[in-house]
């Protein structure tokens, strides 16, 4: 990836006019000569079933790196990004790749994805004083870990409001859940129950399933026999697509809601996706927010596709969070490439409730436990692989525009 990243840097310089628009709003003017290099490492799913994620995450973060560098660096530091593969969640691969990133490439920041690899490399990050940033993994194991910050909203934060709002909207009394049989899925399931308590509905079926399953007939048969009037999905990735497709095929016509949507899942479900609503990090490529717009345009120009929220998350981390931390370090007279400095600055920023810029519009802050607070929204999918926002998530409540 190093070779390609340099080639891309040249490419990006050619299109600097566009990129500069973004830099101007990014709040990262070059202070000083801008000759020092800050090494970043990334652990993504470059191969295996999850390589959709690796693809968009590396695109999002690489775009941010190139924009920072072509804008003269972030407060005296240019970024050098090295991406390694954790083969869609293999912890051994993740740990050895992390060692390589930290010890051979000298990375002082680690971008990570997926729950298990992130948890596995977290002790290394603490040991070497490295800041660990995750914008994809959703497991509850990621909460409350030293040096680890997540900028993807978790099901536990979003689903209670989503469930009670949807139950009222569809007048649903009997709710069924289908979810990943892991910590993330199970905490989603608990969140659904919590939401149901608020709305006064009843959970009539709870069906955990193995991650990556493609056949849901057993779960769906049981759900159907429980006769629900709403289905909540606590699963991620392609699984969402298969569940919706098969639910519709066996004649389950009730509203389906969840907190995940990917273009790939939409492709799998095809027409069946129509009407599915999901509460996710509110990234809308058609946003009016200037940072978001610049990101979406440049991303589409460069990669020929619209960005989705996973790309946006890693773009945010690289484009806004890191430069802000480097600035804080510089103001305090410290060297951000020294072990522990960036992590300490992040802890301070979180404590002070620092508002980071974001392509989601407005700003984002982090909680002490490493979770994020930022705009989220309810999106409705059509049968053609598109989603449109229908309501926003504010202060723990869902608000319809104009109501």
């Amino acid at each position: 990836m190093k070779r390609t990243s340099r080639a891309r840097a040249r490419l990006a310089a050619a299109g600097a006019a566009l990129a500069l628009t973004a830099t101007a709003c990014g709040g990262s003017g070059g202070a000083g000569g801008g000759t020092e290099t800050l090494n970043m490492g990334a652990l993504f799913a470059m191969t295996g079933e999850g390589s959709f994620y690796g693809d968009v995450m590396s695109k999002g973060s690489q775009l941010a790196v190139d924009q920072v560098n072509s804008g003269g660096g972030a407060h005296g530091y240019t970024f050098e990004l090295q991406v390694e593969d954790h083969r869609s969640g293999q912890v051994d691969a993740a740990v050895s790749a992390a060692r390589k990133l930290l010890n051979v490439d000298g990375a002082t920041v680690l971008l990570s994805s997926f729950t298990a690899p992130t948890v596995a490399v977290q002790p290394l990050a603490v040991d070497q004083g490295v800041l660990l940033l995750n914008g994809g993994g959703v497991g509850s194991d990621l909460v409350g870990k030293e040096n680890l910050y997540n900028n993807r909203m978790l099901g536990a934060q979003l689903l209670p409001a989503m469930v009670s709002w949807s139950a009222e909207r569809h007048n649903a009394q009997r709710v069924a859940t289908i979810f990943w049989n892991d910590a993330a899925g199970r905490s989603d399931n608990e969140a659904v129950k919590q939401g149901c308590q608020q709305a006064g509905c009843q959970v009539v079926a709870e069906e955990p399933h193995a991650i990556g399953t493609t056949d849901y007939s057993a779960q769906l048969a049981r759900i159907r026999s429980a006769n629900p009037d709403m289905l909540v999905i606590g699963s991620y990735g392609n699984d969402v697509g298969y569940i919706i497709q098969q639910a519709r095929r066996v004649g389950l016509t009730v509203p389906i809601i969840g907190n995940e949507w990917t273009p790939d899942a939409a492709k799998i479900a095809g027409q069946a996706m129509e009407g599915y609503t999901a509460i996710i990090d509110r990234f809308d490529p058609a946003t009016s927010d200037p940072e978001g717009k610049a990101f979406a345009q440049e991303y589409e120009r460069r990669y020929g596709e619209e960005p989705e929220f996973y790309a946006a998350n890693y773009y945010d981390l690289t484009r806004f969070v890191l430069p802000a931390l480097i600035k804080m370090a510089g103001d305090a007279g410290e060297d951000p490439t020294e072990p522990g400095v960036l992590a300490a600055e992040m802890a301070t920023a979180v404590e002070q409730g620092h508002e980071f810029d974001t392509v989601y519009g407005e700003s984002m802050t982090f909680n002490q436990d490493g979770t994020v607070v930022k705009p989220a929204a309810v999106f409705e999918a059509d049968g053609q692989g598109q989603i449109t926002p229908i309501a926003t998530f504010e202060d723990g409540r869902i608000v319809m525009p104009g109501g």
Binding site: T47, V91, R99, P123, D182
Partner: protein, 587 residues
Amino acid sequence: MAFYVDIVNSALIVAVLGFSLNFLIGYTGLISLAQGAMYGVGAYATAIVATRAGLDLPLTVVLSVAVTAVGYTLIAWPALRVTGEYLILLTLAVQFVLVGVYTSWTSVTGGSGGIAGIPRPTWLTGSEFPSPTDLLPFVLVIFFIGLGLSLWIGHSPFGRTLRAVRENESAAVSIGKNVTYYKVMVFLLAGVLAGLAGAAYAHYLAFVSPVSFSLDQSIFLIAVIVLGGAGNIFGTVLGSFILVGFPQLLLLLELDNQVAGLAQRFAYGLLLVLFMIYRPQGLVPEYLHIPLRRVAPARRRRDVVAGTRRSRNPGPPTGDGDGDHPVVVATELCKSFGGVRPADGLSLSLPRGKITALVGPNGAGKTTVFNLLTGVTSLDAGRVELHGRDVTDLAAWQRTGLGLARTFQDVRIFGGIRVIDNVTTAIPDQPGDRVSSLFGRPWATWRTSVDTTEKALSYLDFVGLADRAGALASTLAFAEQKLLGLARLMATEADVLLLDEPASGVDRQWVDKILELVRELASDGRTVCIVEHNLEIVRALASHAYFMDAGKIVADGTPDELMADPHLASIYFGRSGPPTEDTHAGD
């Protein structure tokens, strides 16, 4: 630096896991596709007791070893009943069920999220977040325990017997080996080593989750074994360093991730195919250095022949002079396979120091009689006595231990091991041939190894194969294999020898040599019984013969008497048919 030390550490742990699998696949020929999952048993055991009960080294390791050993031994029970592709399937099933347990039993294993925060051996490394370099001593200790254990087992009489079991189970039984015992024990030892590796992994990584113990891991480990060389401990070390290190070092080339990842998978798969076709023995062959310690045959031939036979249960009235007292008495043996009755109320007795022959037309049931006498085939009815003791209920390997041993018409030497080891492994009562003495009497095991080699060489010398001692037995000519079969039979120190067509299928000059050897064995007071189709040989050897037809003894007497009987001659020559009795399935 830490990056490279990490590679070394990972390879060392994989090597210990590889030793475990090498004993199953390489030594004993038992395929296990459950190695990844069993590794998980060890790792989870440490992870759970360390995080839940706060246990520390070395107690975690001990516990992991114990749990994994018990687990693998439990697999041995069904595995004893199946071989080949059935064993592949069986262990595959175990692999999937165990991973299912790891993923689903969330309250204990943490589900697919795994268990994080496993304490590192801080008192050993001096830090809560040690670097790979800090952990290197810990991993090295584990590795050397594993290596030492493996070398000790692998080069012991026990290890040699495992190889014999791999080469031919029925032949291993015929030299008095309890095959069931060896299989159970090798699963247990594999569990010990896998538990060691699992505990090391859990402490080293401080995190366990099901993906590390998947079928992929099992396949990877098999690849380590076959690439390095099955049956060789050092081959396993080489295999782990290559297969663990190579992909890691490739990271340094900074290739495009997606292409590099796929190219690596492709190369890995292709390598497996090519190795299986062109170099199935792996990089390091099983016997790296063929040369033997040169031991001059200290005993004279006569000593060998006369000195080392035994009957641990000498029957009551047998003086050396009383040569005609029967040593083996079989009464009313009955056996039927479906409609066929290869033994139908058959009785015979074998006197000491004499050569008795069993003759009859093809299909008369002669080989079956041997199978019934040695206990390879169970009796429907009847009774077998050895030195006056009823051995009817004893297993075949036990009868060999009491001095009743046999050869096979199709030889069944242990082709894949050395000529000398074919003989050495048959010598009874070696310290270190069982796990109890291997670890209970290490000094005796070590000391007697020279003696047994010397003894084996003298047997080889007796049959004239001493100069081929270091060769692989499969490289011998057929006649030489027959001689080796005789040497192996002698090495069991049995005093009742059942020889199944000892001279069939060999050239004339070899026949004479073999006949002379057989005569020599009998003249030293052993009891010999031959099944032979060639009447000339029967006449040349036997003093007494039983004539068998359709599962019954129809006549007995001297060979000359029998041959003079025209009725018997018509039975003998009057029929022709496919040779079914000797290729009987199931033995």
